[in-house]
Every structure is written in C-alpha cells, then in structure tokens.
C-alpha cells in the first residue's frame, strides 16, 4: 500500500484528508430529502394547476408551511443537480479548459437559479407580491 503514496504523503503520514466523500454524502442526503419534498411538490403543483389563478398561488405561498417547504425543495433540488451535473461533466468532458468552463457555468446556473427562486418565493410569501 505504501508504494502507491507520494514521498510527501509518506513523510507527513497523515493518510487521507478525511473530506473526500463530501459530495458523495451530500448527493445521497439531498436525494433522501427530495423523495419527500418532491412528492409534496407534485401534490402542490396539482393543487395550483387546478385553477392556474394568481390569487390562489399567492395565498398558497402566504402559508408559512408551504413557503418553507417550497424553499427547501428548491434549495435541495439545486444542490442535488449541481453535484449531478458536475459528475456528468467530469465523466464526459476531458479537455481541461472546456471542463473548467462547464463546471463553472454549472455553478453559476445552480447558485443563480437557487438565489432567484428563493428571493422570488420569499418576496411573495412575505406579502410583497404585486397585486
């Protein structure tokens, strides 16, 4: 086993950094959360699609429970898809420059989408909806 380690690694003798599995664990924990959140989300989408009315959606989001759950759903989804898309890019794109650009673009889309979604939802939830 020691034969595979770098001279510096052997000299330090610390083993792994102990945080290499962060994404692995995060992907699975967010997956478990999303099973429940998305089932609730499908149910909510069904409820909102029944009328398609602005006022129905606004008052639905005015409920703290709905607002909290939809914000959680958005955050867990954008976090989960950020990791998933990064894995796909790392699997299929091997040119370093292209890979870096795509990974950064993925971060921008996911953090940008999460920020936009949460701000919009909270604005309406806190009564700032245009009516």
């Amino acid at each position: 086993m020691a034969g595979y380690r770098t001279p510096l690694g052997r000299a330090r003798g610390l083993g792994s950094a102990k945080h290499g599995v962060g994404h692995f664990i995060g992907q699975r924990v967010s997956a478990a959360a999303l099973v429940f959140l998305v089932l609730w989300g499908v149910w909510s989408a069904f409820f909102l699609a029944r009328s398609g009315d602005y006022e129905v959606a606004r008052s639905w989001l005015a409920s703290p429970v709905n607002a909290a759950l939809v914000v959680l759903t958005a955050l867990a989804a954008f976090y989960h898809m950020r990791i998933g898309m990064a894995v796909i890019v790392e699997d299929y794109v091997h040119r370093p420059a292209t890979k870096a650009v795509l990974l950064i673009a993925n971060l921008f889309v996911c953090y940008g989408g999460a920020a936009l979604t949460v701000v919009c939802l909270l604005k309406v939830a806190f009564g700032g909806g245009v009516s």
Binding site: V35, R58, L61, C120, V124
Partner: protein, 135 residues
Amino acid sequence: MAEVSPGARARPLSPHLQVWRWHATMAASILHRVTGVALYGGALVLAGWALALASGPGAYGQYVGLLASIPGKIVLFAVTVSVFFHMANGVRHLFWDAGKGFDLRTADLTAWIAFAFGLVAALAVWAIAALHGAF
C-alpha cells in the same frame, strides 16, 4: 505501458455501446442520467414560475398560459415521468449504497419496477389532474 510489438495479433477492444445487447439495468443507468438532465431543465421551469409569480398577475397568467399550451404540457409530462423514474431509480441507488439488491435478478427486477413506476405514477397524476379539471 507496454509497447505493442510489430506484427502482434490485434487485441480485442473493450465493448462499445453498439455491441451491447440492451438490458434493463443498463437502460436504467442511462435513463437515470438522461432524466437527471431533464430535471435540471425542470428546476429552471420552477425558477421561471417563481419569477413569474413575483412579477405579478399579468406575468403569472402568461407563464401559466405557456405551461398549459400543448408544447408546455408535453414538457411538463416529460418532467413528471422524469421525476418519478429518477426518484424510483434513486431509491434503488440508495439501497445499493447500503450494499443491498446487487444480485442480477433483484437488479433486473428493480430496474423494471423503476420504469413502470415512472410511467404509471406520471399517468396516474395526470389522469387525476384531468378528472379534477386541471386542464
């Protein structure tokens, strides 16, 4: 790396996608990625919905109208199938992470269950929605 000596017999290449017989576990694995990418788009549809809602009744009405159009409905149905398949197959992955369900029979069976769940659950949700006048 060992050099290939000149005149050596051509070594077999590792199998490519085209020479595999399609089987359920392979299709499920590929579809998990495909539906994951589709749901990436689905999350952006959700972001658009939140933006339309925060922009007022006019914008919201336009956005809902877009989603209710025929192309909008096709996209939403694809997202619904993707949600349920990706969810079922994701649960399958969580069991694998726990070291369970790896034998061929179970892996095959659960792949078919994931396909069926994706389609049946999506059709059920849309049928219930149609019965309740969501169209």
